[in-house]
Subunit: 139 residues, 2 copies
Amino acid sequence: MQLDSSGLQVLSREECLCLLAATPIGRIVFTDRALPAVQPVNFCLDGDGIVIRTSIGSKLAAATRRTVVAFEADEFDPEMRTGWSVTAVGHARAVTDPAEINRLATLPLFPWAPGSRDHYIVVDAEQLSGRRIIEGRPV
Amino acid sequence: MQLDSSGLQVLSREECLCLLAATPIGRIVFTDRALPAVQPVNFCLDGDGIVIRTSIGSKLAAATRRTVVAFEADEFDPEMRTGWSVTAVGHARAVTDPAEINRLATLPLFPWAPGSRDHYIVVDAEQLSGRRIIEGRPV
């Protein structure tokens, strides 16, 4: 088991992808008018790509166009004070190819929030890192 | 009840602070070597300030020195597809005043991760916004 300088377990790329595949909600991190911004989204993994749905006119759609974003998912146990987190960093792209849109529409990805959200964004997980607190400090 | 253009309930500053006060984990969003970065942290609310503990030499301590960061906390129910999120944006500052460090040391803020974490960072919640999905779409 590999530990980082903080004593956290370093997760492999495969472990990171497994955890992301089993998690419905993550947070996309981007820049909005020169300020750091973060928005929770439900998502679906498609190979190494993180697929999210939004509306074409959303702030998220505008801010993530042809840029590098981060995407984070995690799970924590407040009782045991353990948990894991996975962060991906990569280019975000709006999906415009009709064949790819049709394929992504078959994924089990249904928006939680109301409104029409038929605009797909894919974040390529070019860098993927994950950490786990292995030894909790129970409350 | 105020809704935004996406049909999500807009939370007041007071509601946002109440939710943050009852939540142990959030995510700090910053820039690391010109790339978007995000790191989960446990935290404690101190007035309008979000207090986190880290080690003096951490990437987080270096990257959040005298800069504007975002801080996000949320809670989601995957069964009901409901949830809320709160985002604060404001200046982060390292606490160097010994009297303030002594006061912050009395807060119920105990690091989950191993290692010494006696460096305090306070994020002033200058902008605070929150949203809630009020009508879930059960699975």
